[in-house]
Amino acid sequence: MKPEVVMNNTELNVNKKKSSKLQHWKAFYKKFKRNKLALIGGYIVLFYILLAIFAPLISPQDPYEIDLVNKLQPPTTDHWMGTDDKGRDILSRLLYGTRLSLSVGFVSVFFGAFIGILLGLTAGYYGKWIDTVIMRIVDVLLAFPGILLALAIISALGPSLINVMVAVGVFSIPMFARIVRGSTLSVRKLEYIDAIRALGATDFTIIFKHIFPNILSPVIVQATLRLATAILSAAGLSFLGLGAQPPSPEWGAMLSSGRDYLFSAPHIALFPGIAISTLVLGFNVFGDGLRDALDPRMKK
């Protein structure tokens, strides 16, 4: 029996070898595609990315052109989303702002998630004093008022867009760290982790290949939600002088400039609000699809 089977396998092996990785991705894509909502989410995200790229081409008006005579106009045929408190075309501003808000959102969440996940995994996996030290630092970070942190960053690094991303990213570190640690604590005791340890895997392998994929789902949720918070808090920081300065059409800033007109000209806050929520919606749905596609038990 034995030689026969082995022979067969080697033959098979030759033609299959190269395509294995590609096939893996294909299977993943296939699964992903089957989830209609996820696909919609993906398209929304893609749509925004395209907007970001082509904003200058498709914007109907100059996003910076102030026209105080026509301020606070409700949506008209000239201004599909109306004008803001300085008479600028909201649609054009939103379009131009896509790039800014998208990149601030992305980069800062990515940055925060990256460090937070590292910290959380390390703390959760090693436990003991490593956990103590990391988590106490995280506690401190959590307790630190955002504005103080932002002021510190400006005075240390100066006001720039990258630093906003850093600042907002730093705010998210503790969130990710704590979520990841919590889940790591419960996963690291599972028997399959013992199994891979018994094989002599390095801690690195255990942490990143075995624990991480199994705690991904709360991370995805947190990351997709953090995006909204990141865009909003980036705007808060621009008022402190960190990051994009007016008249940059940052979505968050546009939204808060609507604060004074919530009742007299609600569209000022409404459209940026819709833009942010649709983007976040897209991301969440996309994230859900991703999670499902990554979960073998969801395989159809």
Binding site: V6, N9, K17, E191, Y192, A195, A198, L199, P296, K299
Partner: protein
């Protein structure tokens, strides 16, 4: 088949191993008691042999295995593998030593990462200990799957898509993947149908012959134990009660517990109906084990001394040790 004593090389030496698990209670989870899962056991495993552990469920077999692998840190005792004291090895040394020490887990499904395909699981084992060059990994995986009777397509599938027995075979393949010296087989074949079981047992035996492998074989199936072992160790409530050559133990079991155990084997053979020694009395618990001989509460032959004094493991015949006051 029985090798002369002098030629046996000790591969693993377990000395006074103890493994206690705390039992927590109350709101603050104070430790209120201990499960004495393994309570001061010593034994050797010789190179190239199969030592089986049998015994009542919960008597500490798996725990012994886990302790040897340092999956739980033992409470006390020492474990020497090829003259290395495993318990004092550093992280890195321990990692490389793990290549030589493998385990097939009792619960196959729980021990497979649900997010990895079988190919990834086995590939990873090969990768971690770097046993075969990268190009050959895939063919090696297919070979391993073939050994345990799984089809090569299985590589692309995930653990939950397999039946219980198939999962167990994946576990076996993983243990074999790294060419270990010692494999701890914790109920490795219990979920397999007899034909696959036969296939796997044959494979294990032939590998043993070929590579001088050593097995610590934990099983309840005495037929299997009898087939595969060189020596058999019987545990009861965290203690070794008897340890002997296979022949000796199956033909002349000396400890009353061993005898009861052997008599309870169900046999699919209408001709061979046998008399059963039924054990009576409550099964004691490792949380508060009985004094003296731990078996005395159920032993039909118990005498006074059994209640108060712990019998030591003593040689009772050639290659046969037993812990019983009555026997000695």
């Amino acid at each position: 088949m029985v090798l002369p004593v002098v030629e046996k090389k000790v591969l693993l030496k377990v000395n006074q191993l103890k493994q206690y698990f705390p039992i927590k209670g109350g709101f603050f989870g104070r430790t209120i008691n201990h499960v004495k899962a393994v309570d001061d056991i010593s034994f050797n495993i010789y190179q190239g042999e199969t030592l089986s552990i049998v015994g009542e469920s919960g008597c500490g077999k798996s725990t012994t295995g886990r302790a040897i692998l340092r999956l739980d840190e033992p409470t006390s005792g020492s474990i020497h593998f090829q003259d290395k004291d495993l318990l004092s090895l550093g992280k890195k040394e321990m990692r490389s030593t793990r290549k030589d020490l493998q385990v097939i887990f009792q619960d196959p499904f729980a021990s497979l990462n649900p997010r990895q395909t079988i190919g990834q699981i086995l590939g990873e084992a090969l990768y971690i200990q770097n046993v075969v060059p990268k190009e050959n990994r895939k063919s090696r995986i297919e070979e391993l799957l073939g050994h345990v009777g799984l089809r090569p397509e299985s590589m692309e599938r995930y653990p939950h898509e397999f039946s219980g027995g198939q999962r167990q075979r994946i576990g076996i393949a993983r243990a074999l993947a790294v060419d270990p010296k010692l494999i701890i087989c914790d109920e490795a074949v219990s979920a397999l149908d007899v034909s696959i079981q036969a296939q796997v047992l044959n494979l294990l035996k032939s590998l043993q012959r070929q590579f001088d492998l050593t097995f610590l074989f934990i099983s309840h199936d005495l037929g299997v134990v009898r087939h595969i072992s060189d020596r058999v160790m019987v545990m009861y409530l965290g203690k070794i009660v008897e340890i002997a050559d296979k022949k000796s133990i199956f033909e002349q079991p000396q400890h009353p517990y061993t005898r009861a155990l052997l008599s309870a084997i169900p046999v699919p053979n209408p001709v061979q109906e046998r008399e059963r020694i039924l054990l009576t009395g409550d099964v004691p618990s490792p949380i508060d084990p009985p004094s003296g001989c731990r078996f005395h509460t159920r032993c039909p032959f118990a005498i006074d001394i059994c209640k108060s004094q712990l019998p030591e493991l003593k040689i009772s015949a050639q290659n046969h040790q037993v812990a019983c006051h009555i026997v000695s």
